[in-house]
Amino acid sequence: MVSSELRELYQELILDHSKKPRNFRALADANHTAEGFNPLCGDKLKLYLKVEGDVIQDIGFEGSGCAISKASTSMMTASVKGKSVSEAERLFHEFHHMLSGNDAAKMDLSKLGKLTVFAGVSEFPVRVKCATLAWHTLKAGLESDGKVVSTEE
C-alpha cells in the first residue's frame, strides 16, 4: 500500500510529464541558454530559450533527473511558452513561494494553474530543490546567458 502523501507527490500529471516530457529537445535557434545542476542527486538540465522582444517564443530542454525534476521542467516549459518574460518571472515567484513559503495554505494559487500539482512536494523538504531547479534555471536563462545554476550555492 502506498501512502496518501506519496500519491499526493507522485500524481498522475507529474508521472505523465516525467515519462513523456514536453519540449524535450535542444533549440537550434536559441538566443538564451542556461544549465542547472543539483549535485546532491545528479539532476542535470540544459535549458534553451528563444526570446523575441518580451516574449518567450520557444523553449526546450535536455538532461536527466528524477521524476519530480523532469516533470517540473516539462511543465515549466509548457507553462511559460508564449508568455512574456515578466509573466514568466511572476510564475517563478509564485511557484517558489508555493514550495518554500510557510503560508502556502493562505496563498492564492489560482494563477499557477496545473503547476499546483507540485504543492505536495513541500511535504518532502529534500525534494523541494528537485522541483525548483527548472525555475531557477529559467530565471538564470532569462537574466544572463550560459550560466550554470547549482542548487548548492
Partner: protein, 424 residues
C-alpha cells in the same frame, strides 16, 4: 580493557562450526533501531554512509563526560591521568584490532578523509616532483581522489587511474601496467563504498611494492566488516572512520609504518605535537603525537575503543560471515524484482548493493522507500567518476550491518514493489 578477543572468535568460526548468528540479540544493543519512521519500524540500510551506535558506546561517551572529562597529556590531576589512560588504552585496542606492530603507528585523525589528506600533504608534498605518478583506481570515493589531485597541482605529479571492469572489479592487468618506477604512491580502496567490491588488496600492494611504491589502503568500508591484518597486508598506510564502525563521528585513524611516520614532517602545528618550543626553534614530539596537534576528540577516541571492544566481543569474522549471508539473500531477492539491475557484481563483495530500477530515478526510489521506513542512500555515493563509468547518474544503495536481518531485507523488497506500484 583492550582485549585480544578476536583471535578466539576467528578460530572457532573459521572451522565452520559457527553457531547461528544472533542478530536479534545484537539489535537490542542499538536503541535507535526501535525508532518508528512515519509510524513504521525503521529499517536502516544506509550503513555504508554511517552506522548506528550501540549502548556500550553511548554509555562510554556519557560516562566520560559525566565522570571522566579532562584534557590529556597535560594535567597532573587525577581526572587528566584517567582520561590520558583511557585515550592510550584505545590506541592499543585499535593497534591490536588492525594487527599493527606498534601502537605508535596509530594516529588519531578526524576520519578517513583527514587521514588521506595527512598522507598527501605530509608524505607526498615534500617527496613528489614533476613527472612522478600517483596511482588510484576508478572506484575511489572522492576523498581518495581529490587530495591526490590537489597534491598533483602542488607538485606537478600526475594522477593515473586503474580502470574498473564491467563487474565492478578493478582490472588488475591494467593496474599492474600502470605501475612503474615513476610511481611514487598508490592509494586504493579496500572495499568500494559504491559497489561493495572487495579489492584483492594484498596482491595489489605486492604489485606496487615491486616497483618500490608505498600503498595507502582506504579501509573506510573494510575495517567495520572484515578482518584487517595490517601485518599480513603490508600496506604502508591505512585509514578508516570511526562513525562507520559504530563509534562517534569526528574520529578516525591513520595507520602508518613507523619508519615512514617518523620521517614525515608534522601536518599541523600546535600543542601536544611539540616537545619544546622557543621562538627560535621548535622540537617536535615523537610519533604519533607529532601528528596530533591540539586537544583531540578524547570522547571520540574512547568511544571508538569501546566500539572495537564491542565488535571484538561479537567477532569480526562472525560479522563477515553473517553479512555475507545477508548479501546473498538480498541479492537473490532483489534480482527477482522486474527491471532491477545490480551494479557491481564482483566475485568478492562486502554487504553493499547498488542498484537501478527500470527508468525510475534513484532519488524517487529513495523517497518512496523512506515513506516505508526503509533508509537507503540514493545518489552518486561520492564516486561521480564511477557513476560515469557505469553510465548512470546515480544508483540506489542498500548497505548492511550485522544488526540487519533477513526480515528487513523482505521489507526492502516490499518497499521496492511500492515503487513499482507508483511508477507502474
Amino acid at each position: 580493557m583492550a582485549g585480544f578477543k578476536r583471535s578466539t572468535a576467528v578460530d572457532s568460526h573459521r572451522n565452520g562450526t559457527r553457531a547461528s548468528f544472533d542478530a536479534e540479540r545484537h539489535r537490542k544493543d542499538f536503541p535507535i533501531l526501535n525508532e518508528k519512521i512515519y509510524g513504521k519500524p525503521l529499517v536502516y540500510l544506509d550503513n555504508a554512509a554511517t552506522t548506528q551506535k550501540p549502548k556500550p558506546v553511548i554509555e562510554a561517551l556519557s560516562r566520560y563526560y559525566s565522570a571522566g572529562n579532562a584534557n590529556i597529556h597535560r594535567g597532573i590531576h587525577y581526572l587528566s591521568q584517567k582520561a590520558t589512560d583511557a585515550y592510550d588504552d584505545a590506541r592499543t585496542t585499535i593497534q591490536q584490532f588492525l594487527h599493527a606492530r606498534d601502537s605508535r603507528e596509530i594516529v588519531f585523525v578526524r576520519g578517513a578523509t583527514e587521514g588521506i589528506n595527512l598522507v598527501a600533504q605530509s608524505y607526498g608534498r615534500n617527496r613528489l616532483t614533476p613527472g612522478d605518478e600517483i596511482v588510484i583506481t576508478g572506484l575511489e570515493h572522492h576523498s581518495n581522489i581529490v587530495p591526490w589531485q590537489m597534491l598533483c597541482q602542488q607538485t606537478g605529479a600526475r594522477l593515473r587511474v586503474a580502470p574498473v571492469l564491467d563487474n565492478g572489479e578493478v582490472s588488475l592487468d591494467a593496474y599492474e601496467k600502470l605501475l612503474n618506477d615513476r610511481t611514487k604512491l598508490v592509494s586504493i580502496a579496500h572495499v568500494s563504498n559504491a559497489l561493495g567490491t572487495i579489492n584483492p588488496a594484498k596482491r595489489m600492494i605486492q604489485m606496487a611494492h615491486r616497483v618500490g611504491a608505498p600503498v595507502l589502503l582506504d579501509g573506510a568500508q573494510s575495517a567495520p566488516h572484515l578482518a584487517v591484518d595490517l601485518e599480513d597486508l603490508d600496506c604502508d598506510f591505512f585509514v578508516f572512520s570511526g562513525h562507520k564502525m559504530f563509534a562517534p563521528t569526528g574520529i578516525g585513524v591513520l595507520y602508518g609504518k613507523l619508519d615512514l611516520l617518523e620521517a614525515m614532517p608534522p601536518y599541523q602545528g600546535g600543542g601536544d605535537m611539540i616537545s619544546a618550543v622557543s621562538f627560535e626553534k621548535t622540537t617536535y614530539n615523537k610519533v604519533p603525537f607529532k601528528f596530533e596537534a591540539g586537544t583531540p576528540h578524547i570522547a571520540g577516541v574512547i568511544g571508538l575503543g569501546r566500539a572495537i571492544d564491542y565488535v571484538n566481543q561479537i567477532g569480526i569474522d562472525s560479522i563477515f560471515a553473517y553479512e555475507k549471508e545477508l548479501l546473498a539473500y538480498a541479492t537473490e531477492a532483489l534480482l527477482k524484482i522486474p527491471g532491477l539491475r545490480i551494479i557491481g557484481t564482483a566475485k568478492e563483495k562486502a554487504s553493499i548493493i547498488s542498484f537501478v530500477l527500470a527508468d525510475v530515478h534513484p532519488h524517487d526510489i529513495g523517497t518512496i522507500l523512506d515513506q516505508e521506513g526503509v533508509a537507503i542512500r540514493a545518489g552518486h555515493h561520492c564516486a561521480m567518476p564511477l557513476m560515469e563509468r557505469f553510465k548512470v547518474p546515480a544508483t540506489a544503495r542498500a548497505s548492511f550491518a550485522f544488526y540487519n536481518t533477513k526480515s528487513e531485507i523482505d521489507q526492502l523488497v516490499k518497499a521496492i514493489h511500492s515503487v513499482l506500484e507508483v511508477f507502474g
